[in-house]
């Protein structure tokens, strides 16, 4: 059974903005990368899944439940990192997490401590005085503290330095192994590439492509055959560039990065 199902979702904001006839599903234990430029409709889709917006046309279901009517039930097992995080500024991070623990009724099962240590965050500062990175870490902790089965992450690594970004990606890989279902929205390719099994590319509110990360890569691999003076040179060349040597010839590959693949789907419009 699909964990997350979006079926023919349409929300027209006018002037080409919104999402149009959007359908996709994420299986249990799958990590789905939702890739698209700003304003493509990623956040609008997520707002429907979160039960913030009511589907006017089409439907959204999580775990078989209607995302609008049964939103509070769905939230029990869901963790969410919003694209633009805003906390209760008057609190310290510690107070905020304590509030959430009570508010969500998480109790002693909270993974709060483990996560704070993992991200090296000391939350005992007024939230209003925190840096963007600290707020992001706090947002991640808040989203994962109740060990949810489904994760909806809207650009989760924005504001994190590269080290912390890798740490986050490693964490997501572990969570996936633990059977979590993940929907990760991003306009950053690496984040999605390293975490997800499937990628849906969204463009102007429509899905341009849904495929596995592997297939997307394969489709965009080019090979070159280079002839060198000696077999030794050809072998060395192949070794250095990760190719194969065939006598004096060496075959090398260039993998287009997802970024290039991405541009392939978006390029036209922007020029």
């Amino acid at each position: 059974m699909s964990m997350i199902e979006v079926e023919k979702l349409t929300r027209d904001y006018g002037a080409g903005k919104g999402v149009f006839d959007l359908s996709f599903s994420v299986e249990k234990g799958e990590a789905f990368g939702f890739l698209g430029p700003n304003g493509a409709g990623k956040t609008t889709t997520i707002r429907h899944l979160m039960g913030f917006l009511k589907c006017r046309s089409g439907s959204c279901r999580i775990g078989g439940r209607d995302c609008w009517k049964e939103r509070d039930e769905i939230q029990r097992r869901l963790g969410y990192i919003p694209g633009e995080i805003s906390f209760f500024e008057d609190m310290t991070g510690t107070e905020f997490l304590r509030f959430l623990r009570w508010y969500r009724n998480v109790g002693v099962l909270s993974r709060e401590k483990e996560l704070l240590e993992y991200f090296e965050l000391n939350p005992d500062t007024k939230i209003r005085k925190m840096s963007k990175g600290m707020k992001q870490k706090l947002g991640i902790t808040a989203a994962l503290m109740h060990d949810p089965a489904i994760l909806i992450l809207d650009e989760p690594t924005s504001g994190l330095d590269p080290l912390m970004q890798s740490r986050f990606i490693e964490l997501m890989q572990r969570e996936k192994q633990r059977g979590k279902t993940i929907l990760l929205s991003s306009h950053m390719f690496e984040e999605v590439e390293r975490t997800c099994d499937t990628i849906g590319i969204i463009r102007q509110g429509k899905l341009a492509e849904v495929d596995s990360v592997e297939n997307l890569r394969k489709r965009h691999v080019r090979s070159y055959t280079v002839t060198l003076e000696t077999e030794e040179l050809a072998e060395a060349f192949a070794r250095d560039f990760g190719g194969e040597a065939r006598g004096r010839e060496a075959v090398v590959f260039t993998r287009q990065s997802l970024e290039d693949i991405f541009m392939h789907y978006y390029g036209g419009e922007q020029k």
């Binding site: 913030f52 917006l53 009511k54 906390f87 509030f99 508010y103």
Partner: protein, 266 residues
């Protein structure tokens, strides 16, 4: 129906404003009550004679026959209307709309808590604030009256009067709360939440001045609150208070429904 930790947080968040308003009201109420001796009352009444329109506008009239009538004239036309109203406007906006505007509503809604429960909890916070403020006022009035003029105050009637005032203030807070639940932008939430009651109060002031402007009283809900009528236990005044209370209930129910069914762009 009430989410306890949210309620606790918001009551804590209301305390500062409650203390400030309580302090200002303490000052006014104690000063006004202390002025109810024949000489001072004469002085106040002379102001009324000097500038009858201005004083009448804020509900102040001369010739009170008892301490309660005196209070009704000098406290229940302005001070006890405006300060609790200020609480409703400021907190009403902060309890829902500010969370939506800032986006932190995410953390209230992305949790296994029904929207209905969130709205009901915030409504309860607003109502609790108003009740607390008026309960304090009642205690203060009784205390001041005891101190300055023992045995002069009809406490039973005072309590009726304040229940009437409570109906009015709950009605105003219900309106502010509805505006807060309806809009996503604090400037509209405050604009409509505060604008309508303030406009109505201005109409009430016009109506109080009398003459042709008296017709304005048909266009303001403040007309439904008649302090002198309640003290005299007139049916019409009691009915007015009842209408305000029923209106308050309807406004709060409407607000909770609006919040439960609306789209949130957070």
């Amino acid at each position: 129906m009430i989410q306890a930790s949210l309620y606790r947080r918001e009551i804590k968040g209301s305390l500062k404003l409650l203390i400030i308003l309580g302090a200002v009201m303490t000052m006014y109420v104690s000063i006004i009550i202390s002025m109810y001796d024949p000489e001072m009352a004469e002085l106040l009444d002379s102001y009324v004679e000097m500038m009858p329109e201005l004083m009448a506008a804020v509900g102040m009239t001369a010739g009170a026959q008892s301490l309660l009538e005196f209070m009704s004239s000098y406290l229940y036309g302005f001070i006890l209307l405006i300060f609790p109203m200020l609480f409703s406007i400021l907190r009403g906006n902060a309890l829902i709309c500010r969370y939506i505007e800032k986006g932190s509503m995410v953390y209230l809604t992305a949790a296994p808590v029904k929207r209905r429960t969130i709205a009901f909890t915030q409504a309860a916070v607003l109502m609790s604030g108003i009740v607390l403020l008026l309960a304090y006022t009642t205690g203060l009035e009784i205390g001041c009256a005891r101190y300055y003029f023992p045995n002069e105050l009809d406490i039973e009637k005072l309590i009726f009067l304040n229940l009437g005032l409570l109906s009015l203030q709950l009605f105003i807070s219900g309106w502010c709360f509805l505006a807060s639940c309806f809009f996503s932008d604090a400037k509209y939430s405050i604009g409509v939440g505060a604008g309508v009651p303030v406009l109505m109060y201005v109409l009430q002031m016009l109506a109080n001045v009398g003459g042709k402007a008296e017709k304005a009283k048909y266009f303001t809900f403040f007309t439904l609150f008649q302090p002198d009528g309640i003290i005299a236990m007139e049916n019409q005044a009691l009915l007015g208070a009842g209408i305000l209370l029923a209106g308050a209930v309807l406004l709060y129910i409407a607000a909770i429904l609006v919040f439960s069914r609306r789209d949130l762009y957070i």
